[in-house]
C-alpha cells in the first residue's frame, strides 16, 4: 500500500478522480458480480424510499445511493472470518456482506424475522453469522469497538481483519483520533475505511476540518493512509485488498479515504439547502453503477442480455424481500424486556456461592 500523499483537491466542487496507481484487473464474472451487488443495494434502497413514503418503514432512513462502490469494492476484498463495523448508513454494507435481503428488509419493517429481530431498524443492523457488528447511530461510536475486536484477534493470534467504516463526519470526533492512535500504537489489525462523501449531514468538509486531506491525518499516526476513488468499484477493491493484506500480515492498521458522494438527501427529512443541484448532477456523471455498466458494455464484457438478466434477478430478489418482510411477524409485547440481560447459568451458580 502506498504511503504517499495524493495531490487531489478533495474539496473541489466538481469531482476529480483520484488517479489509480495501476489499472486493477478484474475477471469478467467478478465485474459482473460487482455490478450485480451494487444494483442490489441501489434498488433495495429505492424500494426502501418508496416504502418509507408508504409508511411501511419509519424512524430515520439514510440512503447510501451513490456510494455503492465503496461497500461492494471493500467487502469483496475481505474474507468470511473478518469482522465489519459500520455506520447508520449501512444497508449497502449489510447486503454486500451477505446478510440476506429478506432479513434486512424485515428489519426495516421492525419485524422479528429481521436481522436484529426488528429491535434496531435501519440504523442498527447486526448479524452474528457474518460478523457484522452494527449499524451504529453515534457518529464515531464504532471505531473503539473495531479497535477492541482487533485487539481480541491479536491477543488470540487470529489472522483476521476488522473493517471499520465511518464517514468524514466521524473524523471530527475525538474517538477517531483516540482509535487511530491506539490501533497504531498496539499494531492492531484494523482497516479504517473512511467514506468521505464531503458532507457531515449538511456541513461540508472544509467547514468542519482545518486539514481536509484525511489520509494525512492517518499518516500522522504512522499508519499507511491513502485516498482512493470511491466511485470506482475496481479501485476500491484493489486498494482494500492491498491494505487488508498488510493488516492481515501483522503490519498494524491501515487507513483508506474513499472519496465518494451521496446522491440523495442525508435522511428523509433533509431539504438539501446546503448544496447546489448542479453539484449533485456533476457527481451523478460518475455514478459508480453507470460508470461500470458503460465500461462493461463498451468492452463487450456485458451483453444486453447479461445486463437484463442481472436486472431481473435483482428485481425478483427485492420482490421476495418485500414479501418476506410483509409476511413477517411483530415480536410479542411480552418479550419487550427480553435480552436486556443475558439469561445465564453462571448467575445461578454464583447464587449458590452465597
Amino acid at each position: 500500500m502506498s504511503d504517499e500523499s495524493t495531490a487531489v483537491p478533495v474539496t473541489a466542487t466538481v469531482p476529480v478522480a483520484v488517479s489509480p496507481a495501476s489499472e486493477p484487473a478484474m475477471g469478467r464474472e467478478h465485474e459482473l458480480r460487482a455490478l450485480h451487488e451494487m444494483l442490489r443495494i441501489r434498488q433495495f434502497e429505492e424500494k426502501c424510499a418508496e416504502l418509507y413514503s408508504a409508511g411501511k418503514i419509519r424512524g430515520f432512513l439514510h440512503l447510501y445511493i451513490g456510494e455503492e462502490a465503496v461497500a461492494v469494492g471493500a467487502l469483496q476484498a475481505l474474507g468470511r472470518e473478518d469482522a465489519v463495523v459500520a455506520t447508520y448508513r449501512e444497508h449497502g454494507h449489510a447486503l454486500a456482506r451477505g446478510i440476506p435481503m429478506g432479513r434486512l428488509m424485515a428489519e426495516m419493517y421492525g419485524k422479528q424475522e429481521g436481522c436484529s429481530r426488528g429491535r434496531g431498524g435501519s440504523m442498527h443492523v447486526f448479524d452474528a453469522e457474518t460478523r457484522f457488528y452494527g449499524g451504529n447511530a453515534i457518529v464515531g461510536g464504532g471505531l473503539p469497538i473495531a479497535v477492541g475486536l482487533a485487539l481480541a484477534d491479536k491477543m488470540q493470534q487470529r489472522p483476521r481483519v476488522t473493517a471499520c467504516f465511518f464517514g468524514d463526519g466521524a473524523v471530527a470526533e475525538g474517538e477517531f483520533h483516540e482509535s487511530l492512535n491506539l490501533a497504531a500504537l498496539w499494531k492492531l489489525p484494523v482497516l479504517f475505511l473512511c467514506e468521505n462523501n464531503l458532507y457531515a449531514m449538511g456541513t461540508r468538509l472544509e467547514r468542519a476540518q482545518s486539514q481536509t486531506d484525511l489520509a494525512a491525518k492517518a499518516r500522522s499516526y504512522l499508519m499507511p493512509g491513502e485516498a482512493v476513488d470511491g466511485m470506482d468499484v475496481r479501485q476500491v477493491e484493489a486498494a482494500t485488498r492491498r491494505a487488508a493484506d498488510g493488516v492481515r500480515r501483522g503490519g498494524g492498521p491501515a487507513f483508506l479515504e474513499l472519496r465518494t458522494y451521496r446522491f440523495r438527501a442525508h435522511s428523509m427529512f433533509d431539504a438539501e439547502l446546503y448544496r447546489e443541484k448542479s453539484e449533485v448532477e456533476a457527481w451523478k456523471e460518475r455514478d459508480p453503477i453507470g460508470v461500470l455498466t458503460r465500461r462493461l458494455k463498451e468492452s463487450g464484457v456485458a451483453t444486453d442480455a447479461a445486463l437484463a438478466a442481472i436486472a431481473q434477478s435483482v428485481s425478483d430478489e427485492i420482490d421476495g424481500a418485500v414479501r418476506f418482510a410483509e409476511n413477517g411477524t411483530f415480536e410479542r409485547v411480552e418479550d419487550l424486556a427480553k435480552d436486556v440481560y443475558t439469561p445465564s447459568e453462571p448467575r445461578s451458580r454464583s447464587q449458590e456461592l452465597r
Partner: protein, 328 residues
Amino acid sequence: MMATVTYREAIRTALREALTKDARVFLMGEDVGKYGGSYAVSKGLLAEFGPDRIRDTPLSESTFVGAGIGAALGGMRPIVEVMTVNFSLLALDQIVNNAATLRHMSGGQFSIPLVIRMATGAGRQLAAQHAHSLEGWYAHIPGIRIVAPATLEDARGMLWTALEDPDPVLIFEHQTLYNMEGPLPEAAGPVDIDHAAVRRQGKDVSLITYGGTLGKTLQAAEQLASEGIDAEVIDLRTLRPLDMPTIVSSVRKTHRVVIVDEGWKSGSLSAEIVARLVEQAFYDLDAPMARVCSAEVPIPYPKHLEDAALPQVPAIATAARDAVGHRG
C-alpha cells in the same frame, strides 16, 4: 486461616486469581501497568503477567472502554480500569450507547462480558472533578449491572462473579476504602452479586446504604445502640438491579427507614429506593422516610467544607433518632 489484608490487596488478589484462572482475562486502563495503578491496586501485576495482559493505555477513556466492548465481543474477558468516576464521563457514550444496548438492540445476538472498575466518592480533598458519586447515574441504565463492594469479602469476591456475568458489570470502589484493613479468610473467593446483605441486625430502624458510607452507617448504629435504638444496617452491594425483597423484608420488621448515600438527593438512587418503598411497603411504614446524602454542591476542596458536604455519623444518627421518635 485468616490473613490481614487491605481492600486494595483484596482486589489485587481477585485480579491475580482471574488472570491466572482464565486466559481470556486481561486488564487495561490508565497507568495500570508500570505505574502500578493510580490507587496501586494493580501494583506488581505487570511483572507477573506481562504487558500483553496488563495494558497501559493512553488517556483515551472513550476508546479504551469501547475497545473493552469490542474485545468482549471478540471473545475476551476484559477488565477495564477507569481512574475515577468523574473521568468515566469521557466514556459515557460507549457505556450507555454501546455496552448497555447492543444485546437488546441486536435481538440477543451479542453479549458483552465486560467488567469496568472505577474509583468513586469523596473524602480525600480532591475537589469537584475527582470526588463525585455518580454510580447512581449508572444505576439508571438498563443493560448494565452496578455493584459496589463495601467490605473486604466483596472486594475479594465480586470481581470473579462479575467476570462470569455475560453482560457488562461496573464495579465502584470507594476511594476511602482502599486502605481499609482487616481479617479475610485465606479461602475467601467469589461472592454473589445479586443480593443486598444485612450487615447488622436490628429491629427499630432500617439504615440502607452501600459502598463508602457503610462504615459510617455502622458507626452510627453502634452509637444508637448505646442509646437503646436497635438499628438494622443494609448494604445494598448491587445498585442495579436493586434487591428489593431484602430491603422490603427489613422495612416490614422495622417500619422506619433512613437511606444513606454519598450521591446527591435530586434524581438519585436514594430517591429511587424511597419511591420503590412507597410502591411496595407503604403500609408498613410508621414514619416518613429520611435521607442523608451529600449536600447539593460540587464537592469542595477544604477539609471542613468537604466534611460538611458529605453524609457523616452524627447526621445519620440524628435522622435515625428522628425516624424512631416520630409519632404519626
